[in-house]
């Protein structure tokens, strides 16, 4: 919402729990370097992923596999877990810790079947009344031909839509890279948390730079311009709360990162499970409905200009059209004799 946006513009630290941002007196170059350092931390190879975080915070984890349509995408993990007093469904992306695992997990870039597995488990959670916790860490959905052939856009759109209406609480955590639609597909929640060094963006900084600056060398400039750090995302209202990482970053201490995250997740589950479900879903709708900044000048509804032909003729035409499908609709213009792409109706 607009007032949410007004709190923006590099005024971090509004939330006492938020970690310190670069001080305002720092030069733009320093700020750029600091932002880029966070992008690098978010991409750190040893950063804890969904399974490592669950290992640190859950008493039990049961992974479920397969989308029942095509296969099992190891870039996405899904299943059940016990976190504190809660039995929940979990969904998250999983990059590999080494080359071998990265090949198996496709460098954490999900194909459509990954998102379809996520949807299957989230729908199951809804039927079982289990809250959902999602962990987001993805460079982006897999951009290759197989992904397009199997409908990556459809999978993302469907998953986003599903999450806006699921009748169970959803806690989302941006743990590393929040890479565009591939992230949002599992990141629509009642509350969105982010680890301190996580980043969230509409396009990778390299992609943004190559389009707007015409060189990917300006990736750090693009990263700064997109305000992609966790605290900046909090100021924009996209992220609700930033969780401080251990000194040096989450990769230095998986256990401690998991412990801090667990406290925040359990706290949110306590809060969300107390809200009546109709209200919960309505609040989630309002949350996303109100994101985005625009101005609005009230405009009168302009009634259409009087039809050029007499009303009677139009009404007769309408009656004829409504009355019979046998009468062909009038074509607007003379049709060229190019062949139609497919057979007509």
């Amino acid at each position: 919402m607009v007032d949410r946006i007004l709190g923006r513009a590099g005024k971090p630290g509004a939330d006492a729990a938020a970690p310190a941002e670069p001080a305002p007196e720092r030069s733009a170059e320093d700020h750029k370097a600091a932002v880029w350092a966070r992008v690098q931390l978010a991409r750190n190879l040893r950063r804890p992923r969904t399974l490592e975080l669950l290992g640190a915070m859950a008493d039990e984890v049961i992974e479920l596999h397969g989308d029942r349509l095509f296969g099992d995408d190891e870039a996405v993990v899904a299943g059940f877990a016990r976190i504190g007093a809660y039995r929940v469904a979990v969904v998250g992306q999983q990059k590999g810790a080494d080359t071998e695992e990265n090949i198996r997990r496709n460098f954490g870039m999900p194909h459509p079947e990954g998102y379809r597995k996520a949807m299957r488990v989230m729908e199951l959670a809804e039927r079982c009344g289990l809250p959902i916790v999602t962990f987001v860490d993805v460079p982006g959905a897999h951009p290759g031909p197989e992904s397009e052939e199997r409908g990556i856009a459809e999978a993302i759109a469907r998953s986003v839509g599903l999450m806006t209406r699921l009748r169970v609480p959803i806690v989302t955590v941006i743990t590393g890279e929040g890479g565009s639609g591939g992230a949002l597909a599992i990141a629509v929640g009642d509350v969105v948390l982010a680890l301190e060094n996580a980043v969230y963006s509409v396009i990778s900084p390299e992609g943004c730079a190559s389009i707007l600056w015409r060189t990917s060398d300006e990736a750090s400039t693009a990263a700064m311009a997109m305000r992609m750090t966790a605290t900046e995302q909090q100021a924009l209202g996209v992220v609700d709360q930033v969780i401080a990482e251990p000194d040096g970053g989450a990769h230095t201490d998986h256990e401690e990162t998991g412990r801090r995250l667990k406290a925040a997740i359990v706290h949110e589950l306590d809060r969300l499970t107390a809200i009546p479900v109709d209200l919960l879903v309505e609040q989630r709708y309002r949350r996303y409905r109100s994101l985005g900044a625009y101005t609005e000048v009230p405009t009168e509804v302009v009634p259409p200009a009087a039809p050029p032909r007499s009303g009677l003729a139009d009404r007769l035409r309408g009656l004829l059209e409504a009355g019979s499908r046998a009468i062909p609709a009038p074509l607007q213009v003379g049709r060229r004799d190019e062949p139609p792409a497919r057979e007509d109706v």
Binding site: I5, R8, G140, P143, G144, P145, S147, E148, E149, R150, G151, I152, A153, E154, A157, V160, T164, R165, G178, S180, G181, L184, Y200, S201, V202, C208, L212, W213, A225, M226, M228, L236, Y285, Y288, R289, L291, G292, A293, Y294, T295, E296, V297, T299, V301, V302, P304, A306, P308, R309, R317, E321, R325, A329, Q332, V333, R336, E338, P339, A341, R342
Partner: protein, 284 residues
């Protein structure tokens, strides 16, 4: 297959006084007046030129039935975004060049006498990119269609989410999908029409999710830009990759429809889809 951007062709391609346009597909010189009559489709090869939102509305709707809504919505600059030039300057330039407030127009109108809520995107306005204004208009159109219980039609033409609005542009995917889910739950139909191009976040939200998905022939439709995909993955792309016919072949489009047939096909579909109070009402 090379990606064609007819909109960016240099000025030398147009002959003096802009009387003629060269078809980027078959190189035929086309008289502009004749092109208007063919709804901007090349008469010799069937190439579909991009259509601005005003032309599209005129093509699809019954004459003088369009009632625009929310024309007063305008972008802000929530990030203070500056690349080669500041974002507000880009918006101002686009407004000046197109005479439009943003990359989408919505309102109510009639297609062969059937009332619809309709959103039409315009690629000419910053590549049809979706920021808060486009997302808001799509959501309001879905909510308007729901309140009036009339079908929703969205004609997409977009390069995707508007980078200059950062993750707030990304959040428009969730905003539009949330509204469409409510429409679907209330059994109000939605027809998505994809024109060249429909890519990125627009394809990965409302464009892909019609109850019926139509597309114009040979439109570029895809999630990742072909260059991004090829660059990242280093793979050869199959012929016709991310074109309408490719999507059709893979089951994501119901019909590929030539522009001259679009209005009639939409009207025919709407006669099946329009919300009915009772099964008996299906008769006639």
């Amino acid at each position: 297959m090379p990606v064609k951007f007819p909109g960016f062709r240099s000025r030398r391609d147009a002959l003096p006084e802009r009387l003629w346009t060269r078809c980027p597909s078959c190189s035929e010189q086309l008289f502009n007046k004749a092109l208007e009559k063919t709804l901007h489709v090349c008469p010799s090869c069937g190439h579909h030129f991009r259509l601005g939102s005003a032309d599209r509305l005129a093509q699809l709707l019954d004459p003088a039935t369009f009632e625009e809504r929310d024309a007063g919505l305008s972008s802000q600059d929530p990030l203070g975004f500056v690349d080669q030039k500041p974002y507000p300057d880009r918006v101002a330039a686009a407004k000046l060049a197109t005479g439009l407030p943003d990359a989408a127009v919505w309102g109510f109108g009639a297609i062969e006498g059937q009332r619809v809520a309709i959103v039409v995107m315009d690629f000419g306005f910053m590549g049809g990119s979706m920021g808060a204004v486009v997302g808001e208009k799509v959501a309001r159109a879905a909510e308007g269609a729901l309140a009036a219980r009339v079908p929703l039609v969205i004609v997409s033409a977009s390069g995707g989410a508007r980078m200059q609005e950062g993750t707030l542009a990304l959040m428009q995917l969730a905003k539009t999908m949330a509204a469409l889910e409510r429409l679907r739950a209330a059994h109000v139909p939605y027809v998505s029409v994809m024109s060249d191009p429909t890519t990125g976040g627009v394809f990965a939200s409302y464009a892909a999710m019609g109850d019926v998905n139509l597309a114009e022939p040979n439109a570029l439709i895809g999630f990742a830009g072909a260059r991004v995909g090829a660059g990242t993955i280093g793979q050869e792309l199959p012929p016709g990759f991310q074109r309408s016919e490719f999507l059709f072949h893979h089951g994501f489009l119901d019909r590929v429809v030539a522009r001259a047939d679009l209005r009639r096909e939409l009207a025919a579909l709407l006669r099946y889809l329009a919300p009915r109070p009772t099964p008996e009402a299906a008769r006639g």
